[in-house]
Symmetry: C2
Subunit: 252 residues, 2 copies
Amino acid sequence: MLILVTNDDGIYAPGLAALYQELRRLGKVTVVAPESEQSAVGHAISLNTPLRVKKAPLAGDGWGWAVSGTPADCVKIALAELLPEPPDLVVSGINLGPNVGINVLYSGTVSAATEAAILGVRQAVAVSLDTYKDADFATAARITGKLLARLQEEKPPGEQLCLNINLPALPEEAIKGVRLTRQDTGPLVEHFDCRIDPRERQYYWLAEINSRQDLDPDTDYAALQAGYISITPLHHDLTHYPSLNDLRGLEK
Amino acid sequence: MLILVTNDDGIYAPGLAALYQELRRLGKVTVVAPESEQSAVGHAISLNTPLRVKKAPLAGDGWGWAVSGTPADCVKIALAELLPEPPDLVVSGINLGPNVGINVLYSGTVSAATEAAILGVRQAVAVSLDTYKDADFATAARITGKLLARLQEEKPPGEQLCLNINLPALPEEAIKGVRLTRQDTGPLVEHFDCRIDPRERQYYWLAEINSRQDLDPDTDYAALQAGYISITPLHHDLTHYPSLNDLRGLEK
């Protein structure tokens, strides 16, 4: 099995190194990741600037291709230029911090997996860990490896789908199980901090990006918060089909 | 009616100025737009850097708030800090170049409208013009104004929806009409140009980003190519619901 690993935290991130070590048990792994952190870049791609590619050591052991672009850029150039043949599996992560609810739209981690699905990769997966500090990526990678092995046995998702996996930051025996969830669409609690710089000019900084009130129980947010692994199948057709009929009068 | 206008081509873009002039007929217009071009940034938001906001003149007449961030940043900070009350309508554009098919995911123009929908704005619209040169934004803005007036009469889209409007680059009398369309999801024709820089190092540049083969007739791509105005209702729930059942075995 040919596996492509990428992320949005950058090629030197420990979450990527842990994933690389684990997935080597499943097949031949190539790493193509951003040379610098690309959090919250969403599905950005580089049109106005060229991309540079160089070899870089991974944390611990191994090496990968470092790309001067976004996660989606990494997947595009890996498939077009760097891999000898199309991969069977693309895994993006392991992200430091969850990617659930509206944050899925902002997430470089998820966008890399979506890009792989767009490009026809049979299995595309994003993996995120629900903590911002003291992350145990070795445990998270081991759980991810087991999930991916099970995914090979289950009916595989069709082409042009990706799976958004979020792991609780708990010891493996404390995790309650797996929940298939929908993406939460409720509003986030967020605000801008308004601050004064050393030159007495105002600036703004977005705060509380992962806060959420009023959780619905069948969502990614709620499953993760209740101690379950959340798996959400995502696609990239944003059309809201029911509205096509509601608006049909505009065609007249 | 309180209207927020933004874009991804930047606050000095002529497409934004034309939209501003036209929408002043419909209500009170505030412009909050990126201080520099932000094409293909997708739904990126600024987490690691603060935002600066300053007044800037628009091309021709009027002024707006220039923000040192992405289109989604502009909508967030406009609603949180810059507007005295929530807007009734957010319009993003007029973009130089179409935003149809897979490009919808890469588009800062569309992401600004999506962000407005997420934040609960009743009517959020992205407008793009199908040309990269010699754009007649005055005509495009006039057509947009008429469409927005008609939208007020039709059943309005529910909350958390946005409309992705693409205009043919044709004289108004040559446009064949309006088509309600779905987002095309087919693969793009694209490749990387591999070039050598003045220091004899290799670099890559993504090419042909808007090319598409094998058009389905009910898509945004096809309607635009056939000379129609394309309107696609978009939402931001990426869940692929049919797959929730297919994968239910993973919960065991």
